[in-house]
Structures are given as C-alpha cells and as structure tokens.
C-alpha cells in the first residue's frame, strides 16, 4: 500500500488530509475526534482578537435537488476565549503527537499583538502557524483578515513580524478576493514564509428571498456579503493554486502549498495535488457529512496511487503543473471535432439546439434510416467540416461517451498565437488575417 505521509516543510502528517481552519476544528473535542476518524492534521479555527458572532451564520445553495453545492458564512474567528483554545491545542497535540496541529492566528495589525500571540501559542507545542489574511467579512472591516491579505505590503509586513519570533513553520493563508493572486503570494515569499495556503472564502451574497425580500443568510432582517465555499468554488481554487504554483518566484522559493476550496472527494484531492498542493484542507464537505468522509479520502487516494504505482505523494504532487500554460502558447493547429455515436444517442436533441442556437450551426437533424422503424425520428449529425470544436454539444449530452471530441489533422500549421504575431505581425489587421486563413484553408463560416 502506498505511503500517504507528507512532510510539509517540517510539519509532518500521516496523510495529506487536514481540516481547514473553520467550525470543524473549533475545539479539542472535535480535532481529536477528527484525528481518530483518520484526518492527518487540523488547522485550528482561527484564534486571536475577541469577537461576537451573529446568527444565522450560514446560507447555502442547493442545486436542483442536491443540497449544499455552495455554502457562505458570516462567521467570525473563534469566539471561545483564547486561553481555552490554547489549552485544548496543547492537549490535542499531546494526545496525537504524530498528527499535525496548526494554529490559525489573526489579531489586529500591531507588531506586539502578533508577536505576543505567536509566542504564547508556540508554548502549546503546535507544529506550525497559519496566518489568516483571508477572512472576507466582519474581521476585514476591523482591518484584519482580507484587509491585510488584499494589500501585499501588509501581508509582507505582518508575515515579517511573525517570522521574527516564530520557531515553527508559518503558513500564509491567502484570500481569493484579489485581482492577481500572485502578488500577495510573492509578498509572503518575500517575508520568508514557510508555506502558502489558499483559498479562503469568496465574497458573496447567497440569495434573496423573493417573498420577503430578505437577504440570505438573514441576520435579523439584514444581510451582507459573506465568504463562499464548498464544491462550487473548486474551479476557482484550482486556478488560483495553479497560478501561484506556476509563478517563477514561488518556484524559486521552493515552499509547499496547502490547497483548499471545494474539496469533497479523493478525486478532488488528487486534482489539487496534481496542481501543486502538498496538503489539502477541507471544511464545507466535512460540515455537510462529518469527519467520516476521510475514510474514503484515504482509501480512494491509496487505491489510486497503488493502481499507478506511486509509492509516495511526492511522486505525483505538481505533475500537472507543466501543462498549465496560457492562451498565447496554445497550439492554433490543434483541431478537434464532435463525433456522435448513434448507437448510444437517445435523440434528446440537446446537442442540436445548443449548437444551432448558441454555437456554430453545424449539427443537422437528418433522416438516417438507422433502424427498421417506420416512425424513426431524425438523428443529430455533425457536419465535421464546419465544426469549430467548441465542445458545447458534448458538454450538454446526457449520455456518457456519446459525443466525443476527436482530434483530426486538418493540415493547419501548428503554431501558437505568440509565434504567429511574431512571425506575421500583419495578421493583427483583419484583411491580412483573412488572407492568412485562406492560405491555410481555415474556413470559419
């Protein structure tokens, strides 16, 4: 069986699965129960400045009968006294010496305040720190959380304060609520952070009650933006993680990433790891189903690794990163077209209407005489020569493997946009572009 253990820049964990700093890691009871269930580590619910919470704290999005595709919250950091949290951290660490216990910290933007809490927390024996620069609500209005994470200079400054006193690894947790995630990541690197984690929650309003006009979640008749998490945010998280992981400065720093945002299954974990996460954190899925989901995370990952002969997580962490590229470097000569397998087609015609109304009108409904039925209905058929390969039809098709996007060789030159405009800058004029296309038999109807 594969070895799932990881060494996260000095923080050792029996597996890459950590509870994210959030309600599931709110207390010693919970963290220890989670370790018993199989979680390798836990980032404690953020401790620091005194707060008062409100309710309702959560709003969720259900999608067509499925519960909680996304969850938002207006919860603050831990509202339990600091002393209690520290005592329980020490106890959890004592009882589970081989598991990773990480303290998440957030205090006001004062050097003494940060340094003091770091020193106090270190005495509990925790394995490291996570600096919460990401909370997008409540704390940010008080100049903490995202208010720090959104200004790279502040991120750098506070991280430096912490690095001055911390003897344990320090993870900087980034907020996704920025235009360019690389900037705060570089700020953390500049301050010598030991690792980066992302994403925290995304600014959001969950909805409006169309009968009462109230905002969701409804806090005594009012509502406001809160932090969005859960399965729906996964693509955003994957993008931000890959952006940091592919950054030149990050690569030079050689520090690990702890990835999170929308993880629910072991496959999600694998994807985060393939894009460069050494550990993965989970919050919403645990809030939905409980700690027990970790059993399948472990079992699924280890079966997957065994099937591929991966002995350690390091064998595949970051393996998909070399494939992360950008538009200018994509091959303009790569051509795929849709092909419908009529043995599988159930004639719902969703592909036809999608292509006809919203893509490039290259699916026809045709009398194909594929059966002996007198009442045989028309079949959707792709005119491959006109298909632009957008993949919409195969996305809407409800039947597995019925519409396949197949690669074809059109004889188009294999050239990237960047190469093209370097070699033929004139194509930036429409008439030259048309000329270039004609010469290369590229017809767009």
């Amino acid at each position: 069986m594969a070895d799932l253990s990881i060494n996260f820049n000095g923080i050792k964990s029996p597996n890459p699965f950590w509870l994210a700093s959030a309600p599931p890691s709110n207390s010693g009871y919970q963290v220890q129960k989670a370790f018993e269930a199989g979680w390798g580590g836990a980032v404690w619910k953020t401790v620091g400045a005194p707060v008062m919470n409100v309710c309702n704290r959560y709003g969720t999005i259900d999608y067509k009968g499925r519960k909680i595709i996304g969850l938002n919250n207006v919860e603050l950091i831990s509202d339990r006294p600091l002393e209690t949290n520290l005592k329980e951290m020490a106890e959890a660490k004592r009882n589970f010496p081989n598991h990773a216990v990480i303290a998440s910290i957030m205090v006001e933007s004062k050097k003494e305040a940060w340094q003091e809490i770091i020193k106090r927390t270190e005495q509990t024996g925790v394995d490291g720190f996570e600096l919460n620069f990401g909370c997008p609500h409540g704390m940010s209005e008080r100049g903490m959380g995202a208010a720090m994470g959104q200004v790279p200079e502040y991120t750098c400054m506070v991280t430096e304060w912490v690095m001055e006193v911390a003897t344990k690894p320090v993870i900087v947790k980034l907020t996704p609520n920025v235009t360019d995630i690389v900037q705060p990541a570089r700020a953390a690197i500049k301050a010598n952070a030991s690792a980066i984690s992302l994403i925290n929650t995304i600014n959001s309003i969950m909805g409006v009650d169309i009968d009462t006009f109230e905002i969701k979640p409804n806090v005594g008749g009012k509502g406001g933006h809160g932090g969005y998490a859960g399965p729906a945010v996964k693509p955003i998280a994957l993008n931000l993680i890959s952006a940091v992981a592919s950054d030149e400065e990050y690569r030079k720093a050689g520090i690990p990433i702890s990835g999170m945002g929308g993880i629910e299954t072991w496959q999600d974990c694998v994807e985060f790891m393939l894009l460069g996460s050494t550990s993965v954190q989970v919050c919403t899925a645990v809030m939905h189903f409980g700690f027990r989901i970790v059993e399948d995370l472990i079992d699924g990952l280890s079966n997957w690794m065994d099937q591929r002969n991966f002995k350690n997580c390091t064998d595949f962490i970051g393996k998909s990163l070399p494939r992360i590229s950008s538009f200018g470097d994509f091959d303009l000569g790569f051509q795929s077209v849709a092909r419908i397998d009529h043995a599988k087609c159930i004639q719902c015609n969703l592909c036809f209407i999608a292509c006809n109304d919203t893509a490039h009108q290259c699916i026809d409904l045709k009398d194909m005489k594929l059966t002996s039925e007198v009442t045989e209905r028309l079949w959707p058929v792709v005119r491959e020569e006109d298909c632009v390969g957008c993949a919409l039809c195969s996305s809407v098709c409800p039947v597995d493997d019925c519409i396949e996007m197949v690669e074809i060789d059109t004889g188009r030159p294999h050239i990237t946009w960047n190469q093209l405009i370097k070699e033929k800058p004139e194509v930036l004029q429409w008439d030259k572009m048309v000329e270039y296309r004609e010469k290369n038999h590229i017809h767009i109807h």
């Binding site: 499925r66 299954t265 072991w266 496959q267 189903f289 409980g290 027990r292 989901i293 059993e295 399948d296 079992d299 699924g300 079966n303 009529h342 043995a343 599988k344 087609c345 159930i346 594929l370 059966t371 039925e373 045989e376 079949w379 039947v399 597995d400």
Partner: protein, 494 residues
C-alpha cells in the same frame, strides 16, 4: 444500428428459453449506479446498516461508488460479508436494508441491493485479491457443509490464520446458493465464484465428502481443534397423502436444482402443474415452471393470502409471471390413470379461530372435494432437518430446539465447547436466509478465534460489524428486520 431501437422484451413469453433464465434484474450501468449512489444521503448511524444482518457499512460502500472508488466499495462490503455477491442478489432487501431506508417515505429507497451487486461485479471483473490467509497459527478447524454459513466461517477463520478444511456432500460448494436459488435470481457461476474466493483464501475444499458416510464425524472431532456444523436442511417432507409416490410428483428442491445443473432444454416439466405450498420455495418452483414453458401453474395453499409465508414481492412477481393461486385449498390425494398423474384432489377450507401461534387455523369444508386436472405435482412445503446427523451430535451432549441444533446466540457454540453451528440448521425461529447464515458463520469464526487463542479478535477484523450483532434476543436466529412503517414526527404532533 441504434442500440436502443432494439425492442426490449419485458414479457417472459416473448423471450427464448435461455433468455428467460437470465438474471431478472440487469446489472446497473455505471451511470445508473453513480446517479443512484448520489441519491444516498449518507446518513449517520444509518438504519439500513442496522437492518442488514451482517451490518455492512452501507452508506460508506455507496459513497465509494459515488466517488469512483469502486474497489474500496467492494472491500467495505466484503469486510462485513464474504457472501456479498450472493446477498446482493438474493436478499429480501425490501424487508431488510431498503425497507429501513429513510427515503422510503419521501422518495423511494436507494437500490442498495443492486448497488451492492454493481460493486461485487466490479470486484469480480477486476480480479482484486482483497484478503489473504493469515499467518498460520497451527490450529485446525473442520467445517461441515459449504453453504453460505460454512463458507463464511471457513473464510473468516482462514483470514485469522487457522487451517480450515470444508467437507461438502455435493460436487460443487455453495450450498443452496449453488443448488437452490433460482438462476434468474443468482446464476450458478456467481455462487461458484464466491466459493472459489473462499478456496483462494487457503481453505481446503473437500467436495463429494458426506460426513457420516465418506468420513466420520468422530474423526473430524478428534483431528480438529473445533468443528463448525453448517449442514443446512434436507429435502421436502412427505405430505402423507395417497398417490404421493407417483412418478409425476416431485420434490421442489430437486426441480429447482435441475434448472441449475442441467441444460434447460433437457428438463422434464408438466404442462399443467400444481405446486403445493406458498412459501418462497414454492413460488420459485412455480415461476421456474412458467419460464420453462408450462402453460398452467396453480399454487395450492390451505390458508389464505394473508397467511402465506412468501414475501409480498415474491407473490407479486409470481402473479406477473402468470401463476394462479388457489387459496384455502388442501390437497388430499394425487390421482392417476395408468400410473400417470392426471389430477390433484383437493378440499376447500375455511379459516377458524387462531391457534397458539396466532395464525388462523384452516379447517376443511365438508363435501367440498374437487379435482384440479394436472400432469405434475411439485411439493414445496418446507425442508426436513438432517435428523440422523443431529442425533449423532446428541452423543456429544448437543441439545436441540424443535429439531434444530441449539446454540448460544453470542458465539453460535453448541452445548459442546468444541462444536459450533450456524445457518439453516440452527434457525429454529425467524426466516432462513443467506444473509443470516452468513452472519452465523462470522459470529462462530469470531468465537472460535477468541476461544482457541484466548485473545480478542484483532483490531479491524470483524469488529466493527459483529460488535453490533450481539443481541441476546436474537437467540437461535432472529426474525428478519421487523418491518413497520415509521411514523413521522410531524404527522403525530399535528
């Protein structure tokens, strides 16, 4: 050719003979399985898990199907139940796991049985070795009878490191899974493959060995550290009516066995058949007869529909197969001409007051005899116990209850400390079923381990599941899940 344009045959009489004996339920496609698995709520402390006599961690195995970890799903099932492939097909799920599903009232229950089959089929095809024989501890156990109870006990003991030899009278192991369950519910290959997996665990399988004939119980007792008796039940008893010995009167179990061991086209069946009895075996005989091609199949039962022991879904299935039912009818004589069966003489019955068992007694209506014309009579009125064998065990101080072997429910140990028993041969009350027999095998394996090694069973083996099963009220077999509709709190407080 568009595949779905091929006509789907729902009606048995539109199918060819071989086709009619394929599994009634097709396997779930991957898409169906994933959609269904995603419907599961993944309940905590789930009632389905409690309702399953082997306490498979159902929410977990279903979640693993939904996440594409089908290997893990299969392991979760097999850890609790080595007969997972049989159980997936033969368990009366409406009465067990699916009957307990919390979605039963608001939607419809999750198809637990078919999802289990999906995972088991996957395990089968992917040829994964889930378990291996434990490091030998030098102790030997003999298992008598290779049905679900015996196979499970043998497999679990082998995992623990015992050297197990299984003695089976028949040519193939598997017990009634191989010889008794109708093929369109469980193909013979599935049962045999399941037994093969037990052999792969290092169990020595001695088929064609009848204990008491080819080898004596005394010798097994002497040469082993423990013996597990799982001999099941025997043939169908006599009805004690004239004409019973005629050639056209057959034992229902024999009739079923033929469809499992012979080419279907070679099986002799009548055109007008009377099946006597109204239990699940009787239903099986009747539906097989219909699928073989018999035009008129009538079930003869002396009580009414309300008392019939067959499951409701079995009854529905038989009705759908075109079987007719003659309730409140008691056979009194098999009639013949020139030695050939040509009728069943019956008398009509009335229901009187309940007897001590609570069931209303059927009493004959005077002068109400009538004849059902038929050319074959199939008896399916229960199974005999292996009385001579059990009498032999009596020499070791073993007690019986109503002719069944008496055991301690927590350990399945008999009155003799070296002899354990399980399966149909101990089921003095409650429903005899594959899954209960399987659980018996597990309970005994655990007890044998603990008794012979003096240690509690190792962490992670059988623990999670059997810990829940130790329920003294289950003494000598428990009634299957007591199926009462749950009353919603909301409905009662209104």
């Amino acid at each position: 050719m568009a595949e779905h344009y091929k006509p789907v045959k729902y009606k048995a009489w539109e199918m060819g003979l071989e086709e009619r004996f394929q599994e009634v339920f097709p396997p779930l496609s991957q898409r169906e399985a994933v959609l269904e698995a995603n419907r599961c709520l993944y309940c905590y402390d789930a009632p389905c898990m409690v309702a399953c006599p082997t306490h498979i961690d159902i929410p977990t195995f279903i979640r693993k199907i939904s996440t594409g970890n089908v290997t893990g799903s299969a392991r979760t099932i097999l850890e609790a139940n080595l007969m997972g492939a049989s159980c997936a097909r033969v368990c009366p799920v409406q009465e067990l796991c699916e009957g307990a599903c919390v979605l039963e009232h608001d939607e419809k229950p999750i198809m637990i049985g078919r999802l289990q089959r999906y995972a088991m089929d996957y395990a089968d095809q992917s040829k994964i070795e889930f378990f291996t024989k434990g490091k030998s501890n030098g102790m030997k156990v003999a298992v008598i009878g290779a049905g679900p109870a015996g196979l499970t006990c043998a497999g679990e003991l082998s995992k623990f490191g015992f050297d197990v030899t299984c003695y089976e009278r028949k040519v193939w192991p598997g017990g009634l899974s191989t010889y008794g369950i109708v093929v369109f519910r469980e193909p013979v290959e599935v049962a045999r493959h399941e037994a093969k997996k037990i052999e792969d665990l290092g169990v020595t399988m001695k088929t064609g060995h009848t204990v008491g004939e080819d080898i004596q119980f005394e010798d097994l007792f002497k040469d082993n550290d423990a013996v597990f008796v799982s001999i099941g039940l025997g043939s169908v008893p006599e009805m004690d009516i004239p004409g019973e010995d005629l050639e056209g009167v057959v034992d229902g179990l024999f009739f079923i066995e033929e469809t499992k061991t012979k080419p279907l086209a070679e099986i002799q069946y009548g055109n007008r058949i009377c099946v006597i009895g109204a239990g699940n075996t009787a239903i099986d005989c009747a539906t097989i007869a219909r699928r073989l091609g018999s035009e008129r199949v009538t079930m003869i039962y002396r009580r009414s529909e309300a008392e019939m022991p067959a499951y409701h879904f079995e009854y529905q299935f038989a009705l759908g197969e075109g079987v007719s039912f003659s309730f409140l009818t008691q056979p009194v004589e098999v009639l013949s001409t020139n030695g050939k069966v040509d009728g069943l003489k019956c008398v009509r019955m009335d229901l009187a007051e309940p007897d001590e068992s609570g069931r209303r007694v059927a009493v004959p209506i005077p002068n109400s005899e009538f004849v059902v014309p038929c050319d074959m009579v199939i008896k399916a009125i229960g199974q005999l116990k292996h009385t001579p064998f059990i009498a032999k065990l009596g020499e070791y101080g073993i007690k019986t209850i109503k002719g069944y072997i008496a055991v301690d429910a927590k350990t399945n140990r008999t009155a003799h400390e070296k002899i354990f028993a399980g399966g149909d041969c101990i089921r003095s009350r409650g429903e005899a079923s594959t899954v209960m027999a399987t659980q018996d095998g597990k309970i005994a394996a655990r007890a044998i381990y603990e008794q012979l090694t003096g240690k509690p069973i190792p962490e992670g083996t059988l623990k999670r599941t059997t810990d829940m099963t130790i329920d003294p009220t289950m003494a000598n077999g428990c009634a299957l899940h007591d199926h009462k509709p749950r009353v919603h709190a909301a409905a009662t407080t209104k």
